[in-house]
């Protein structure tokens, strides 16, 4: 009997066990998935919780109901992986041996990593919405917020769902307008990047959307600390941005057991080959989804496309054949822009988000990098697709590899790498 252990039953881990259980014969393969608890959270829904668009119940399901028969779900914290001995140690003292290991434990917000962030203002005037509790707490704060400075802040890249802070800002602007108090609020967007987003064309488009909405941008801001007395964030180059309500995206880091196991980089991400997702150190360890160090967006869509490539590669790899699948870093994200509209962006390692049309079978083309009602509806529909199509590993009619079909290119739009600061 061969043993596959998957650490993390989130988006990537759940898709992987659903797809691989169908492909690996039960008499030959045992599959185990480990997670710390039995709640699977639909993380894209966190964006809507602060505004009351979604209720908490709409973004959580029992994890075990999403795991197929024939896969063992173990609920425990991982203490460490002893990769040289093919063994996972759990914090409750149990051990799991494996022939192949997949690390899919994602990335988490870490407010503890910035001095002062967890100070006395935490969850009083300092909030995050990248956690289930934070998004719900922020809903209460937003309801009672009626004037002052609302500061949306990103600590450091990379973060999961890198468009979510912009979406939150657009939705906050619309929310305040709807309540008739937008003119009593100064809305400020503070980012470590040099512009609104990481990629030039999208950054220009999203930047002008911030400008239209009279949202001030404070670029190149690397936070050093939160000053709880003055209610301000302070940068390493000693700029001070005061706030009445701070919505911060804390530093994102991979799981601590990755560091304890000696498998991670400075942010606990597992270094892998960016095309095969195989660990650079261990020939029987893969990292899929946000847990790896690939230079792609940390996002569910990336995990989804990557899993499709990974499954084929895994089957080849375990039968001793060379892996023929090559992941291209494909990401496809709806960007909410407020007032029932949204944008769609589609890109990969080498091609930045471009304007044009995105062909979708049966539904027809969606507009890229342009605000439309259809894109907003697409975003809302995605929650159903996530629970019912994506996680069970059913096919979704979207190309795994990014396609140039419908995209409008102008000279110098394929600059592969982007500014990180």
């Amino acid at each position: 009997m061969r043993r596959l252990v998957v650490l993390g039953g989130g988006t990537a881990g759940t898709m992987i066990v659903n797809k691989l259980r169908k492909r690996l014969p039960r008499e030959q393969w045992e599959i185990t998935v480990v997670d710390r608890d039995d709640n699977h959270l639909y993380q894209p829904g966190y964006l809507f919780l602060p505004f009351g668009t979604y209720t908490a119940g709409q973004v959580v399901r029992k994890r075990h109901t999403l795991i197929p028969d024939g896969v063992d779900l173990v609920l425990a914290e991982v203490d460490r992986v002893e990769a040289d001995k093919n063994t996972v140690h759990l914090q409750d003292g149990r051990t799991l041996g494996y022939d192949y290991l997949v690390i899919a434990t994602g990335t988490s917000p870490r407010p503890d990593q910035t001095p002062g962030m967890l100070g006395e203002q935490w969850r009083r005037s300092v909030f995050d919405f990248y956690s289930f509790e934070g998004a719900q707490a922020l809903a209460g704060a937003l309801r009672s917020f009626d004037h002052g400075r609302l500061v949306v802040h990103i600590t450091e890249m990379p973060i999961k769902c890198p468009v979510a802070p912009l979406e939150f800002t657009f939705l906050a602007d619309a929310f305040l307008r709807e309540r008739g108090i937008r003119d009593r609020v100064e809305l400020v967007y503070v980012t470590p990047l040099s512009g609104a987003f990481t990629q030039p064309i999208a950054s220009a488009q999203l930047g002008s959307m911030l400008e239209e909405r009279k949202i001030l941008v404070e670029p190149d801001f690397m936070i050093e600390s939160v000053d709880n007395d003055k209610k301000a964030i302070v940068s390493f180059d000693e700029r001070v941005v005061p706030f009445d309500l701070l919505v911060t995206i804390p530093l994102n880091m991979g799981a601590d057991f990755v560091a304890r196991s000696g498998l991670g980089d400075e942010l606990n991400y597992v270094p892998v080959d960016k095309h095969t997702l195989l660990s650079k150190k261990h020939d029987n360890v893969f990292a899929v989804g946000d847990a790896s160090d690939i230079p792609a967006s940390k996002a569910g869509s990336v995990a989804h496309f990557a899993v499709d490539v990974f499954v084929g590669n895994f089957l080849e790899h375990v039968s001793g054949r060379p892996m023929t699948g090559s992941f291209d870093g494909h990401a496809n994200c709806f960007v909410e822009s407020g007032n029932g509209k949204g944008l769609l962006i589609d890109f990969n390692y080498d091609t930045q988000p471009l304007p044009g049309k995105f062909p979708v079978p049966a539904l027809g083309p969606m507009s890229l990098l342009k605000e439309t009602r259809a894109n907003h509806l697409g975003k809302l529909a995605f929650r159903w697709i996530y629970w019912n199509v994506l996680l069970p590993g059913r096919p979704l009619p979207l190309p795994v590899h990014m396609s140039m079909a419908g995209k409008v290119t102008t000279p110098a739009t394929t600059a592969p790498h982007t500014d990180k600061e």
């Binding site: 690397m222 870093g329 110098a412 500014d419």
Partner: protein, 104 residues
Amino acid sequence: MPVTTIDGRQVHVNEEGFLTEPAEWDEALGKTLAAQIGIELTDEHWKAIRFLREDFAAQGETPTLRRVTVAGGIPTKQLFQLFPQKPAKKMAYIAGLPKPHGCV
């Protein structure tokens, strides 16, 4: 990629002026590149630039600001003093390396 002449030498650069061939770099060129963006290199600057070069040679990519702090042992605060406003970008420019990978 365009070719430009710096210090009487021909080097390959991208549209933002970053060297695209790390092997064309040496410390004399680094000094000139630094002067172009108004930085006079002290020993402290060199410690960071040399770390970038060594780390790039070992890892195949330009280290992020966090990595210069964690693996290179230079506090972020100091990097902002040495290379004001945009330390990651400025260090890579002076070290003749690509900008750190975008975090998309």
